[in-house]
């Protein structure tokens, strides 16, 4: 199989600080991979390394077979990039912003005009395309920025928190645009996000913590490790109830969070519900499907999060 991204022991030090440590990754072409983790986990560093904006201090990375250090230009020709800061020039119109991006991607005069016009039509900017971009709302600016990253039809999109700060409507518009890009052009997408629900439809999720990979699998497989359902328990009796559920043999995992306990349930659902109904000191008890947020708590927080009684 040919890969869009291959890394071997990829890492980066900043002086004494190891921001990314030994990342081994093989991303198949046309797949969508979410990179999750707390702030400072190494997500942005990994993306900058793959975008050729940083060189590794150890290990190596290849994008479509091109080394990210020795063959930077070849790698850059295949990339569409989106950073956390929205890269839209408010003094230019959206149309001028897009033409500028097309020029940066190496498209000549008529091609640049055509790519900009096509992008404006695709995202439905309409008459807004010819007003200064500073007049656009934050959501539209971000949508324009993503359209900018895709206008030259890149083979690999690297998106650092593409929906940060957006309302649900614009987040939906962003993912719709990316879905279309992937469906129509087979684009590989590597993205980071703190909205964990956005990573649920991904083909694969890589969880980073303190510069290291702590989980790497399909979202369903990661969720299954904790149990099909998760009980959220708050209140002074939360620990007692969590222990009792474990005593029933129904707890696949027990997590302690700031608000209380989360218990991954495996079987004996009715018994757990009855136990919770009788338990004293419980302010809140809910049973819901296990999510990536639970996986995040289990894998990326400190060791105290996962309780082993």
């Amino acid at each position: 199989m040919s890969f869009a991204i291959e890394t071997e022991g990829l890492g980066r030090d900043y002086g004494d600080v190891r921001a990314l440590d030994g990342l081994d990754l093989a991303v198949a072409r046309g797949t969508v991979v979410g990179v999750l983790g707390p702030n400072g986990a190494g997500k942005t560093t990994a993306m900058l390394l793959l975008a050729t904006l940083l060189s590794p201090t150890h290990g190596a990375a290849r994008v479509f077979g091109h080394d990210t250090v020795r063959e930077r230009t070849a790698v850059r020709r295949r990339l569409g990039l989106l950073f956390q800061e929205t890269s839209v020039d408010g003094l230019l119109t959206p149309e001028e912003n897009l033409r500028f991006a097309a020029r940066l991607a190496g498209l000549g005069g008529r091609l640049a005009h055509a790519a900009a016009a096509d992008t404006i039509r695709r995202i439905g900017l309409g008459p807004r395309a010819h007003r200064p971009a500073r007049e656009l709302s934050g959501g539209w600016r971000r949508l324009l920025d993503i359209a900018r990253a895709t206008l030259h039809q890149p083979d690999l999109l690297i998106l650092d928190e593409p929906t940060v700060g957006l309302d649900p409507e614009h987040r939906d518009a962003v993912w719709s645009l990316l879905d279309t890009q992937r469906r129509d052009h087979g684009t590989t997408v590597l993205f980071s996000t703190h909205y964990l629900a956005e990573a649920e439809p991904a083909d694969r999720v890589v969880l980073l913590a303190s510069g290291r990979v702590v989980a790497d699998d399909k979202p369903a497989a990661l969720r299954a490790e904790l149990g099909a359902e998760m009980a959220e328990i708050d209140g002074e009796g939360a620990e007692r109830l969590a222990r009792a559920i474990r005593g029933l043999g129904a707890a696949q995992a027990v997590l302690r969070t700031g608000r209380g306990y989360r218990v991954g349930i495996a079987g004996e659902r009715q018994a757990v519900v009855e136990l919770a109904a009788r338990a004293p000191g419980i302010d809140r008890f809910t049973l819901r499907a296990t999510s990536l947020e639970d996986v995040y708590f289990a894998r990326t927080l400190d060791a105290e999060a996962t309780v082993a009684w």
Binding site: T52, L53, L91, R99, L107, G108
Partner: protein, 264 residues
């Protein structure tokens, strides 16, 4: 082709931005004209120069250079805005890379500096007796000095992180360069230490290059002035290329998100 497309795109964007920042553009033209009118008129009656030139004629080349210096440098320093808002990283990550960014930026800043300087130069017939054959050398000198100013601006922009430092740059970099250049008064009258500083100040050479172009007496020879202006331009370009390297291989770097000095 991709290199040229990127350079073309950067020039077009920078020039579009410049025309839309009307207050800055007008300020860039009004500032030197105001100095020319106020300083030239005020000192013309009291200043007596060894060269025998009236003060307003003496100060004219310096004011033309001032317009080009401020126009070129401040346009190039606009790169700081791009760093702060993520556009610079986008440009540096393009296939064309650092050379295209520097080339595009420096050409655009040179054009802005030349334009602002040319507006002041257009006042020449009202202030001095300029032979028709002097216009072309004057424009060539103006373009060369604007290019040097653009590269100095890029050099400054490579190390500052916030647009809030703009006023500081004008006060700490541009005004000292101008006051220690012989633009407003001959360097021969300065104390020895300041005169020595003026001799190594590239703006001194820029002013004298313009004096030669306009047919005025100058303290530095034409060959020396032209060599320094071109040499400083080339050296600043090379140094800026190292400093703008997105990898920042020659300078310590902190992890993303750990502070303000996070990236290109």
């Amino acid at each position: 082709m991709s290199q040229w497309s990127a350079v073309h795109g950067i020039i077009a964007r920078d020039l579009t931005r410049s025309t839309r920042q009307t207050s800055r553009l007008l300020g860039g033209v009004a500032r030197p004209i105001m100095w020319l009118v106020l300083l030239g008129t005020g000192y013309n009656t009291i200043a007596s120069l060894d060269s025998g030139l009236p003060y307003r004629e003496f100060v004219f080349p310096g004011i033309v250079i001032m317009a080009a210096l401020f126009g070129g440098t401040l346009t190039a320093i606009g790169t700081v805005y791009d760093r702060e808002f993520g556009m610079l990283r986008l440009m540096l990550a393009s296939p064309a890379g650092v050379p295209a960014v520097l080339a595009g930026r420096s050409v655009a800043a040179t054009l802005v500096g030349t334009f602002q300087g040319a507006i002041v130069l257009a006042f020449a017939p009202f202030l001095l007796d300029l032979a028709p054959g002097r216009w072309l050398p004057a424009l060539a000198a103006l373009a060369a000095v604007s290019a040097m100013s653009a590269m100095l601006g890029l050099l400054v922009a490579s190390r500052i992180r916030s647009v809030e430092n703009f006023a500081g740059i004008i006060n700490v970099v541009l005004f000292p360069l101008l006051f220690l250049s012989g633009a407003l008064y001959p360097t021969s009258g300065m104390p020895a230490v300041l005169r020595a500083v003026a001799r190594v100040n590239p703006v001194t050479h820029a002013v004298d290059l313009m004096r030669h172009a306009l047919g005025q007496p100058a303290e530095i020879s034409l060959a020396a002035a032209a060599s320094v202006v071109l040499g400083v331009t080339a050296a600043a370009f090379l140094l800026a290329a190292l400093l703008f390297d997105p990898e920042q291989r020659f300078f310590p770097k902190r992890p993303p998100g750990s502070g303000s000095a996070t990236g290109p």
